[in-house]
Point group: D4
Chain length 174, copies 8
Amino acid sequence: MANKTVVAVVMGSDSDLPVMESAIEVLADFGIAFETKVLSAHRSPEDTHRFASGAEERGLKVIIAGAGGAAHLAGVIASATTLPVIGVPMPTDRAGGIDSLLSTLQMPGGVPVATMGLGKSGARNAALLAVQILALSEKKLNTAFKEFKDAMRDGVREANEKVQKRLKGDGSDG
Amino acid sequence: MANKTVVAVVMGSDSDLPVMESAIEVLADFGIAFETKVLSAHRSPEDTHRFASGAEERGLKVIIAGAGGAAHLAGVIASATTLPVIGVPMPTDRAGGIDSLLSTLQMPGGVPVATMGLGKSGARNAALLAVQILALSEKKLNTAFKEFKDAMRDGVREANEKVQKRLKGDGSDG
Amino acid sequence: MANKTVVAVVMGSDSDLPVMESAIEVLADFGIAFETKVLSAHRSPEDTHRFASGAEERGLKVIIAGAGGAAHLAGVIASATTLPVIGVPMPTDRAGGIDSLLSTLQMPGGVPVATMGLGKSGARNAALLAVQILALSEKKLNTAFKEFKDAMRDGVREANEKVQKRLKGDGSDG
Amino acid sequence: MANKTVVAVVMGSDSDLPVMESAIEVLADFGIAFETKVLSAHRSPEDTHRFASGAEERGLKVIIAGAGGAAHLAGVIASATTLPVIGVPMPTDRAGGIDSLLSTLQMPGGVPVATMGLGKSGARNAALLAVQILALSEKKLNTAFKEFKDAMRDGVREANEKVQKRLKGDGSDG
Amino acid sequence: MANKTVVAVVMGSDSDLPVMESAIEVLADFGIAFETKVLSAHRSPEDTHRFASGAEERGLKVIIAGAGGAAHLAGVIASATTLPVIGVPMPTDRAGGIDSLLSTLQMPGGVPVATMGLGKSGARNAALLAVQILALSEKKLNTAFKEFKDAMRDGVREANEKVQKRLKGDGSDG
Amino acid sequence: MANKTVVAVVMGSDSDLPVMESAIEVLADFGIAFETKVLSAHRSPEDTHRFASGAEERGLKVIIAGAGGAAHLAGVIASATTLPVIGVPMPTDRAGGIDSLLSTLQMPGGVPVATMGLGKSGARNAALLAVQILALSEKKLNTAFKEFKDAMRDGVREANEKVQKRLKGDGSDG
Amino acid sequence: MANKTVVAVVMGSDSDLPVMESAIEVLADFGIAFETKVLSAHRSPEDTHRFASGAEERGLKVIIAGAGGAAHLAGVIASATTLPVIGVPMPTDRAGGIDSLLSTLQMPGGVPVATMGLGKSGARNAALLAVQILALSEKKLNTAFKEFKDAMRDGVREANEKVQKRLKGDGSDG
Amino acid sequence: MANKTVVAVVMGSDSDLPVMESAIEVLADFGIAFETKVLSAHRSPEDTHRFASGAEERGLKVIIAGAGGAAHLAGVIASATTLPVIGVPMPTDRAGGIDSLLSTLQMPGGVPVATMGLGKSGARNAALLAVQILALSEKKLNTAFKEFKDAMRDGVREANEKVQKRLKGDGSDG
């Protein structure tokens, strides 16, 4: 991958990696050059600010940030850059992630964070949204995303056939 | 405004207009050409599908969709286009909008909706995210967004001065 | 089962099958001919629309749809058919299924979805509601449903006896 | 209206009438003969049981029940009849109606209640679901429901035009 | 235990027994004669009504009812008796028991259910409340309850000592 | 009212009086001698403890306690008496009273609080539960409660007739 | 007030002033020198960071921060200072403030925010906690706080007397 | 540790110890002398009151209290002392700890409890807040806390490097 890094995948702790890998896989599949960072809005605020305020100049186009609990990471990054910031709320053991979700989503007017659903699906969708954004000015990605969408539909059709087979003889004629 | 329409602001009902006007104002302020549509995922599904599947070809770049309750509009549009879709959950009278929020946000892996906070702030942020996305390939918008961010900071400073004045004589030396 | 297929059991993913099998078993028990489909409101929207808009003509009477998260499947089907649509919210790992529940239930005026409780009990009840609806014009089903209701009552009585036995000697004279 | 009463609209208190009137209007519009009853699962349990257990014999086909708080009315009626029962959770002042919603929806396996969304939209949809159920064996209602669905779509189109007009000159070319 | 049965412990299903045994144990410990019943508000409504309306005449003083989901059992029993009814909301797998809790608690004015906390602690407390009620007219129980309260306090003191010991050498002088 | 005070209605603040008056009215209606107290678990803890620990000796039989927010009043009283304590969670402006509700209800095993629903209905039911408890050993109250229950049923029947009249001519034959 | 400023009352917007004035009044009553600031974690992040990281050197001892929605202000300040930070979650129109509450409270291990209840009571308590902290090393404040606590208890006693008077003649002997 | 005990770590039950040990470890690490107590607001109210009202005289400076469910412990202690009280809401099996959280946090104006997040992180932060408070008048602790903050930042940097290494070869250049 010789092309320029355009997406950053940032997470509040290395314990978020198992979730954020769902984003990383998608970016790799689409051949998008990305970097990953562990940065904490609360434990390394200056590093985080330095990263965010320098991101555009370093050529980044989109920042994906995953954090849990009082999840300030995406918002703090959004406060220091004009790049689109995509937030992934981490599931949390106890409050089920509703804390992460509301802390990421309910941003004040003026500082948007594009919030995804909780957990792995959300991380995966964060990367796909990054692809959609980059595809606006990159024809090849646009074509790739369309193929991805077709493949997804075909996947549903295959699942349908699989279910038909499994149920044959159960009284279903489906 | 002679330039090409690049953003659509779609809403499930004309009763959503008072909220979605917060998006419309931002787009107008940034000089972005946009269209508005009332389309219902449930009451006019074919019109909605036709709109969404033809959006890219018609030159749109970003779709903002606001809906309430079992808010399927953003998701249904996202299912039929490869453009980035930004969802604005409408506040609802009874469940406080948590129904709109979860129905917009919790999309399955594969079909992202960039979800904003509830209501007017969310609508405003939806337009600002659209600006951020378009600014990636339009230098002039990028500059404008930076000015907007500076003005926002200055607004906080002015609010600070206003509060200082109001509290003078109250025992605060603020 | 030579009779005509009158109920469809649709699910958003084959991973929903373990829950939706509770519906399938009930339909089989009552001798109702049904079909099962995997269809996704978001990943195969056109297949879903085609299925829903053609359902009545194909002779279906009732459609049962199970989906999770931003669960749009039942609503999207209801938007494209005049048949009664019964929604089964899937439990989800993180938000406990409240997302599925509200996304299925809070439909706008004009497009009802008959929503069941979360998970297996809900799926079972979806099939029983289908039986109740079909029984309105099919005497035999009505009789069968009454027998089912009696058997259910007898089941409670047996459970009562079982508990009495288990507690004998515990100080209960129950 | 000389035809036979086939739907009952039951409510736990006469204070529920302003919400349940949304159901009543729809039934009247479709020319369906209905009766209304105030019955309380808790304050007049025997009247409620008598009503429910005799409903089928009296020729009723569908029962719509609205109640709030620990909303047991729909479930209690469903326990004593084999007819389809549609539940409308009443909004409540304090817990926002989530109590009504869960008390109506989360029925045990074996006793379905077709639950609608909260409040007036839910009441309206309850009546529409009744129409859909009755339309399965009454051609005229089926046609009427299709016309209703078309009119609803046209209503969205008109709302769209209204919004276009209101925004003309605002910078939208929508 | 030759004395007259004064408390009934009723549950909606025999699967509730592991929770309700916490109530049973307390009643046995206090030497209170009780009976246990499996009765379902929805699946055996007539048995339930018969039980409740005859309870007082049979000499019962207090009824404890545990149920989950759309937990109508306590309310339905309360509707048919003038005896104090104590409700125990069962934890549920998915909505965490908040459905059981609100369905039991939010009774309309006129029909109280003395609601306990979720699960085993709630079941235990239901029995203790029954003891407190019966102790109002039975001196011996009153004395026993006071001893129980003292023993509970002593239990806390012992737990305190246990913790002191465990932490000795950890830097605590506690 | 020459008889001995047997019920105390305690509230955390005089601002709770409008809600707690619903309890007071019921007690007055049934001719039960009661006292009212403003006592705060947090702001007058020693007065509260003195009240609770001396309650039984002063002849009280039942204590009703209403409080809001982190509603500790009922629990704190229950910790210092062996009398039955009935808790009324006050509605709160912001969290809708769910804070009051859970703080009152989720008591640890060993210290029951008989929790009522939120607000005025809950306060009314608290008094009715007190009546039910006292009626166990006072025949006259038992008779009065039965009359109350009959009157309540008759009230529903009258509401039913009122609704019939209001809807006459609306297409309902109700 | 000639003494040194030791407390800062910071708020995210001047619209938060009506709530935060409850803190200001308490500080003024106790004669504590304070300053007030409008600072936004998202709209003026650098000003906020500068304020927080210089706070200790400027002689501040405690920082009170109020913010709403995705309320990051207290957490962002806590990340940049070693002073105790007290967070006041602002009530919000739509999600009832639960978003503010969880965003302020659920901080990661390592960066505490002393979170108060929602709104005016919370703001008032924030100032009182600041007083308690300062009182640890200032005898005069400790005495003042004790007097405050006694006055609060006396206030409850007066409220009690007020209620007694109001109810005299209502059948209460309270 | 020869120095005077200044912090108490109190918990409602010895089953809370695994959570509260996160507080104990921090205090030990900072060399702060502390004591631990098992005290129950409900099961040993008099012991609790005695502890709280005597705490200041015994030389304590800060009290940390952890409890779950209807978590009254921190509030009850705060009602009887003028020392700062820090509350740690225990996670609970069923309602996910939201009961503990609201019962600890939503204190009435006048009696602050500095509430931490749920569970172990909250317990850890409680101890760190105690350190911050004590550091206001103890230079050595202030220095130690600054070192702790630096170490925490370094920990994030190390986690970042760890993640970089793990992802090397995965297509990331991060």
